[in-house]
Amino acid sequence: MISEDAKQKMRDAVAKYPVARSALLPALRIAQEEEGYITPQGIQAVAQIIGVHEDEVTSIASFYTMYHAKPKGKYVVKVCNSIGCYLRGCDNLLKQLEDELGVQPGQTSADGLVTLETAECMASCGTAPVLQLDDEFVEQLTPERVHEIVLKINNFSGRTPGD
């Protein structure tokens, strides 16, 4: 369900631009924040407010990697594995996360707690290796730091690492 509140936010976004369609990306973001992912209802609401066909909205949503058509875990861990992080050992940290979280990159744990992903260069090569936990950076990663993140995520659900 896209709330009236969210729809109002979409209309506010439209008002900021000379052309309504420019608010398409922001409106999709609002829809995704509302429902956790891009649902058919989200597409419909965006299409209505922006004034373009639903198929068009779907096509655009599918172009941008940050919009996703399926739900993700409660926590999303994105590990950069581009050249800057690669040179500073991100592959080992990714492996550690796979082992300790018990999920493969691109997958969500069965209990829906965490999604593990790899990401393209995140403009942080000077503090590599890095990851994002729910869109916030964690930089200069070490195995200890990675372990802390796993503990934090697991603490939330009361499970033990690797379960």
Partner: protein, 433 residues
Amino acid sequence: MTEQVRIVTKNIDIPGIDTFSVYTQHGGFQALRKALAMEPAAVLETVKNSGLRGRGGAGFPTGMKWSFLAKNSSKPTYLCANGDESEPGTFKDRMIMEKIPHRLVEGVLISAYATGAKQAFIYIRGELAYAARQLERAIAETYAAGYAGKNIMGSDANIDVVLHRGAGAYICGEETALMESLEGKRGYPRLKPPFPAAAGLYGGPTVINNCETLSTVPAIIENGAEWYASYGTEKSKGTRIFCLSGHVNKPGNYELPMGVTFRTLIEEFGGGVWKGRKLKAFVPGGSSTPMLGADKIDTPMDYESVASAGSMLGAAGVIVIDDATCIVDAVSRMEEFYRDESCGKCSPCREGTFWLAQLLERLAEGQGRADDVKLLSDICDNMSGKCFCPLGDAAITPVVSAIKLFREEFEYHIIHHNCPLSEHNRSAAAART
């Protein structure tokens, strides 16, 4: 010991400089005030005379770009700040946006005034949530003070600034794809001409500049063109923020006058190659620029010298690679980026990046076939100059330059099904699968 010259990064470490009050206490928005008292043409002339060139990659003279804007268009003029920063090896615009966002906003306002744009957009990469919050607040504070919007600073200038967040696509950093994305479409590059200066965003004359470029403008207005031009070299004026990453002891952003050598950056500022190892190669301007061998370390970091050395200064992302690195595996990783970020609009790039990535992976894993190096070069030849936008040429750059420098190492992988670096021995590739 060489010192940093802080122009764009001036005051960046002062606590609270990311707030309007501290920024203004330290002279913030004085340049905007000064600009508003000048004729827009005089502001443009000052930027032109300063010799400032674009910091987004191509190094085009900024004042000249502004002067190309169509004068008699029936449509409004727009200004876009490019904050899509996604080139592997660069991380300077994110720093500006996070740590000193008002400087970018001030630069945007002055540049919009100079170019006659009443509407400016800051296009920020979708993944940069914190930078977006910082900019959102900086813009709101600037409006609240009456320094943006209607009658800014009591003058008769009206300039609106809107922050626009991307949603994950490297290609949206390319200026025409950025405009498509801003118009609410898929970020496919447009055919040029028309150039943005003639018909860009919503069909209006449009100027697009990198964040660092725009953040340099306030200092130029404040201190004058001659002052700025006194830094740097004959043709590469001023400073740049060099993003130093990879195998150095002290990676980070260092603002230095152009013309300082890579050796100074890597050894003095970066503390040298880490773990007591030796330099194998370095990428001078972000992963889309040809890598250079260790013998080029004394090259001065200015556009012309780096070009004579066989590469480009690009976005000034200096990536250091030590001698324990398997170059095939490293290039394989660089190619994966282009494969994933190719927008898919044209087939040489869409298919070519896929094949290159596949071949490189197979080589790195010791599964390469006899003709693979030739095959790689053939694919690069077939992509070179034949792709719709510059991403296609960028994608072959790491491969072509690495084969040129390290052909034997590629061939060793094929002949011996293994890596010549004993400690490597396919372990990196094995760990990856």
